[in-house]
Symmetry: C2
């Protein structure tokens, strides 16, 4: 595939660096996105489990102390999954993961926001407010915030509601926004797999959500 090799070369030549953590859901969204584009990222692993994100070396990379971060060859550091993915989309437009037209792009972004706010945030609340290792880290970053057990519980309830919502959407859509696989599907896949780690699984009667999850999980990018 000449195009794929070309884009790989371009990224490598530009010395783009990707600060990653294999076990964390946010950077996985970027890894899947890049894999769908055929872009290989030069990865620097940050060990969140040992608190490497709080060490002075990484604070200089991202004062928010979170991954992912994409560092460009001019030194610009892009944090936040959506911003990184949009940059990769602009550098490697095809296959598009944001949509071909202004309306498609708006609908894709709309769904991505819904997945982020209603799905991802709910799973993060459920996880961070209950995990034993995160006692005073109920939010990512340098500030210490005590866990709020009601928030963990609310997060679990919201995950159920979110699964019902996307199951309804998938009844007459192959993917979340229609017949094209987009960044919104990547975000939703990562939410579903994140929720599974919290023992929140797809309900037996959510047949469309299951059909979609089987399909997106079987794409080679899902193992990125």
């Amino acid at each position: 595939m000449p195009r794929q090799c070309l884009t790989q070369t371009r990224l490598r030549k530009n010395n783009v660096k990707f600060y990653d953590c294999k076990t964390a859901p946010s950077p996985r969204r970027v890894r899947i996105f890049a894999a769908e584009k055929g872009v290989e990222l030069q990865t620097i692993a940050i060990d969140l489990a040992s608190g490497e994100q709080f060490r002075p070396e990484f604070r200089q990379i991202n004062p928010d102390c979170v991954v992912p971060v994409l560092e460009l060859d001019d030194g610009t550091r892009i944090t936040e999954v959506l911003a990184i993915c949009q940059y990769l989309e602009e550098q490697h437009p095809e296959p598009t993961l944001f949509g071909h037209t202004a309306v498609e792009r708006a609908v894709t972004l709309m769904w991505n926001v819904k997945v982020e706010q209603q799905g991802f945030m709910a799973a993060a609340d459920a996880f961070r407010n209950a995990a034993k290792g995160l006692k005073n880290h109920a939010l990512p970053g340098t500030e210490q915030y005590a866990q709020i057990p009601e928030l963990a519980e609310r997060g679990r309830r919201r995950i159920t509601t979110f699964f019902e919502k996307i199951n309804r959407q998938l009844i007459d859509h192959e993917f979340l926004t229609g017949d094209q696989f987009t960044i919104a599907d990547i975000s939703a896949l990562v939410v579903v797999d994140f929720a599974a780690r919290l023992k929140m699984n797809i309900a037996d009667n959510a047949t469309d959500l299951r059909r979609w999850h089987d399909a997106v999980s079987s794409r080679p990018s899902a193992s990125a």
Copy 2:
């Protein structure tokens, strides 16, 4: 200004409808964005105070029961502030509020996400978990969620941290992302004004945040 008149005519001819609520912070972000573009939106007011967003007529417009919504002439309904603003940006590219280059656009989007997650969500938590009228509406939408007082308190603490963060960023930047006014400034302006309603004001020693707030508040769009 011929361009402004042209864009106004175009939007009107297309029968784009904007579902709005004058008192709510989220739709204000779109109103300011449109005003900066010189775009006049055909507005349909939804009275959130009386619960109009939960009536069957509006549920058909947006099952999530929130404003803003932009309804296109083909019937497509775009919800979520970022998606609506991106659509308006594509229809009316100048003056850009997302940036001119791929790097500018990534940095702008990154800051917009930070403002949304660290500022807007914090203010929303502080407001919704304490407001007397929102007892079982600690989250927007149709599902009932009880208020969590610790979450209101955490939200207030996070607003203080957020204000310190953007004050630091503004020490050597005229606007949040550099020398251009962008969507990130609009989002941050709305957060600061939202926080003021919660009696969370800019600290006396946050001189750069105050300088920036004075400047962006004095733009004609701020009254939109």
